[in-house]
Symmetry: C2
Subunit: 244 residues, 2 copies
């Protein structure tokens, strides 16, 4: 059943627990991108779901033009209605289409920022159901890493920037796949569920046609346990939510 | 002026502040490797300096055969004398040679473990002096990343393991260069000087001819400030020193 939620930036979003609810991943990725969008940027979010990332970024700079591309028509419909709720139809466009066919949808090199919160898990034969909307967001059923890097390469002009959140277990694949598509990894941040634990997410920024040299940021720690033993977000995560 | 130091494992090492003193990097790399060497392994350390890594690993498993390759004859001489001091001439061989010419020195695929604590800094034209022994250890004057990966590829048999410490700024280059030489990055650990700071070192393990999938370990934090405001190593670093 659909419901309307309010984001930390005051914008409203339509969600549905049965098919798509945005998670902390979208928030962390939006924050990672937010300082890097500038006046007049043309931004595209590949696999935008219910439009969470465009909605979080809409107010981050002047004259942004943001496109959300989503293959599932049900999610496009939700995202489109969220735009109307927020009066953002001029700033954000939602397009129902397949990121494997960007060349049929957009002119080459027509964006300077590409964002993606893609499915993290490789396709294991016979395990996933193409009709399962949640599985489509988690597994590489309709688009894999190569499809996403290829789309980013097609869409970005030279020195355009690509931002993605993904699993650390796929870091080597990600870096090499980016390079294959002339996208050089320039900034990396590992995300740890707790201090002293292994990272379970990573944020990465790549730049098209750039030289080598990767800035590794201090790892981001999501949760801490307070003196009473209760779990809470760290100061930095609270700050990320408050700044969006 | 040369001096004789005692390592945490009780072994003795000859050092010289004017040309080569081992650092924490060699200790961290040896510890990263130590649990991964097994009975009978044939190990080679590319650019062994004064032989610190072979000396730290000598007692880590039975029947290890360790080779230290070093281009500077002065350092080979020091390393050779350290072997005699420790009675390790049967277990460790020091060879004075160029890692760019491993094919003239060793049979192909004759090792199952390759280790390197290489020069971290790319060569910037005209800045470094080939006669400066310290510069040779820091800058890619006599061997670069590609030379090292190429040597590891030549020396390792299939599924052999390669271990290296390096700078995080070069992570993307490292991962792609490894892949170019059929070495798949399998384990990564970022090293932070302090909690909450950017990493300044990384430990990486690659396996020859392996499939993708990278284990990211919890970052290692080197120093903390105690309540009195003094700096000290963290518990984990003290444990690393005590275990070697």
């Amino acid at each position: 059943m659909e419901k309307e939620d309010i984001l930390s930036n005051g914008r409203k979003i339509i969600q549905d627990p049965d098919c798509f609810m945005y998670g902390i991943d979208a928030v962390l990725l939006s924050h990672f991108v937010a300082k890097e969008v500038h006046k007049g940027d043309k931004v595209i979010d590949l696999g935008t779901g219910n439009g969470i990332i465009p909605l979080l970024l809409a107010d981050k700079s002047e004259n942004l033009s943001i496109t959300g591309l989503e293959i599932q028509s049900r999610l496009c419909d939700m995202a489109g209605r969220s735009l109307v709720l927020n009066g953002l139809e001029d700033k954000i466009k939602i397009i129902n289409g397949d990121l494997r066919k960007v060349s049929e949808l957009f002119p080459k090199h027509s964006f300077n920022v590409v964002i993606s919160n893609p499915p993290y898990m490789p396709l294991t034969v016979g395990r996933q159901n193409e009709k399962d909307q949640k599985a489509l967001a988690r597994h590489e059923i309709l688009a894999n890493l190569k499809d996403i890097c290829s789309a980013a390469d097609y869409l970005l002009h030279s020195h355009g920037r690509f931002f993605m959140i993904h699993r650390p277990s796929r870091l080597a694949e990600i870096i090499c796949c980016l390079k294959e598509y002339k996208l050089e990894a320039k900034r990396l941040r590992l995300i740890l569920p707790f201090e002293g634990e292994e990272p379970n997410l990573l944020l990465i920024e790549a730049r098209k046609d750039a030289g080598s040299g990767l800035k590794n940021e201090a790892p981001l720690i999501i949760r801490k346990r307070n003196k009473a033993g209760d779990l809470s977000y760290t100061e930095e995560v609270l700050k990320i939510y408050s700044e969006l």
